[in-house]
């Protein structure tokens, strides 16, 4: 703490400029972009307001989509049955690099998707988020609400090359396949020291005046067992580059892996693809669940061995279905 002042005072003596930029106490440490990668600068709301080339009616629809994205809880009990908003994981309005920016979905889809083994549209990709991360029921394909969501994604992608897949800042930046030996107690310690102040001692999150401020990380009101975030590497990468809020890169890779494992060793609503048998479901979707603790025993307990769907009064939304062209 103190050396910062010594450095800035010293710099002030050497440089006569009144603005002395000392080394920040809390630097923003994000991954570098690689050579040859497309790096997008997504437009802002101000850009939208000032863009005369966009029809006023389209502006309204884009802003509606943005409003749904930022405050998805307005559709609680309709599309969303947990405490999540889109922005809970896609930070900075879905624009931010390494925070799961959403515009690449608009430029890289339709495409084959490993998770469901068929070609997905942008609408279907959005429906996936609602089905798993929001533990919900997506807006119907072609509906006004789905169109608004699609419009927001498409507009954020403005200027980005279609089907360019070498994108800097996409996803959360994979921490790599080399992970430390995962230790529940070690993860618990990292959680207590870095996460509990906002997300609570039991991962329950915090609300104020009925509104979610810090989303729950496990339990009935968090993402379900089919959400991408249940994969340890996804959560570890998200945490490393986005958490604690405002301090990307402050945890070591090891801490991020451990705390991701700890969070994803807790119970949460059932995977909508549940067959009625957790081990069978794990095997059936092993391409996904090989990265999760679902259907494995942690602390003597078989995770995901229940019928609990949280606040959602059904297991599987109808839109989750295979698609073939034969």
């Amino acid at each position: 703490m103190k050396p910062k002042h010594k450095i800035s005072l010293l710099a002030g003596l050497l440089v006569t400029s009144p603005v002395v930029l000392a080394q920040p106490e809390v630097p923003v440490n994000l991954p570098e972009f690689k050579d040859g990668q497309y790096v997008h600068s997504a437009p802002t709301v101000e850009d939208l307001k000032n863009d005369d080339s966009i029809h006023p009616e389209l502006k309204k629809v884009i802003l509606k989509g943005r409003d749904m994205f930022m405050n998805t809880q307005q559709h609680r009990g309709e599309y969303v049955f947990n405490d999540m908003n889109c922005k809970s994981c896609h930070m900075g309005e879905g624009r931010k690099n390494w925070s799961g920016p959403v515009w690449p979905a608009a430029t890289t889809l339709p495409d084959f998707r490993g998770k469901n083994q068929h070609v997905n549209s942008l609408e279907e990709r959005i429906a996936g988020c609602f089905s798993f991360s929001m533990n919900g029921k997506p807006p119907a394909y072609g509906s006004d609400d789905m169109l608004a969501m699609v419009a927001y994604h498409r507009w954020l992608a403005k200027g980005a090359p279609v089907y360019e897949k070498n994108i800097g800042g996409r996803g959360f930046s994979h921490l790599g396949n080399e992970k430390p030996e995962l230790d529940y107690e070690r993860g618990k310690q990292v959680y207590a020291e870095n996460c509990a102040v906002c997300h609570g001692d039991d991962g329950q999150g915090q609300k104020k005046d009925g509104q979610v401020v810090f989303p729950p990380l496990w339990g009935d009101h968090s993402y379900n067992w089919g959400a991408g975030m249940t994969r340890i590497f996804t959560a570890a990468s998200f945490i490393k580059n986005n958490m604690p809020l405002g301090q990307p890169g402050s945890l070591t890779d090891e801490e991020a892996w451990q705390v991701a494992n700890y969070i994803n060793s807790q119970e949460r609503p059932q995977d909508p693809r549940y067959t009625g048998d957790v081990k069978e479901t794990r095997e059936k979707f092993l391409n996904f669940h090989k990265h999760t603790n679902y259907g494995t025993v942690v602390n003597g307990k078989l995770l995901g061995d229940h019928d609990n769907t949280g606040d959602k009064p059904f297991l599987k939304p109808d839109v989750l279905r295979p698609r073939t062209f034969e």
């Binding site: 920040p24 106490e25 906002c198 509104q211 301090q247």
Partner: protein, 218 residues
Amino acid sequence: MKILSHLILAGAMTAVASGAYAAGGDPERGAQLAAQGDGSGAPCLACHGADGSGNNAAGFPRLAGLDANYLARQMLDYNTGDRVSPVMQPNIDNFDEQQIRDLAAYYAAMPVPATTAPANVSDEVLALGEKLANQGDWDNYIPPCSSCHGPGNRGVGETFPAIAGQHPNYIRSQLNAWKSNQRNNDPNQLMTAVAERLTEEQINAVAAYLGSQSATTK
């Protein structure tokens, strides 16, 4: 009339209970301490007002209605030196922890006075302040205030105080204190990280905006 006074009493007791027992303090003893002071300095109400509303010109914060545990933590931090203020320290250094919790309970249970004043700044400055408060400036990695201080920036729990309806001069001085590392009693450097990325223009704008907002309206 009797029913009405009972209702008011019940409401006051509910408010007292939620504020007081959270901090383990006695608001009645806190009221006496606020008027008496710690024996060696100014009593609390001399600067923070009999209604706990503080004073913008002097930079004294509003205390009324803030979270009891937050208030207690700040006073305890003054006495351990984890938070430094040459003005505050001499006025509370003789209070023990129980007395501090009594004071915190007293101020937490106070009704929030209408401190909101029209901001004496341009619409452009207010708009910038509102954007920072509710949308942030993510391109410079500044999350919105509301992402921790909650809806309407009315505070969340014992860690994130209400900043809506707080005096602009106080908000400005605290943001500058964090930015220059004069204040660093925030858990996990959560405030330091944001404050040090704010420009002077942004600090002035967000302070003006927050000061113009109601601390109670939902």
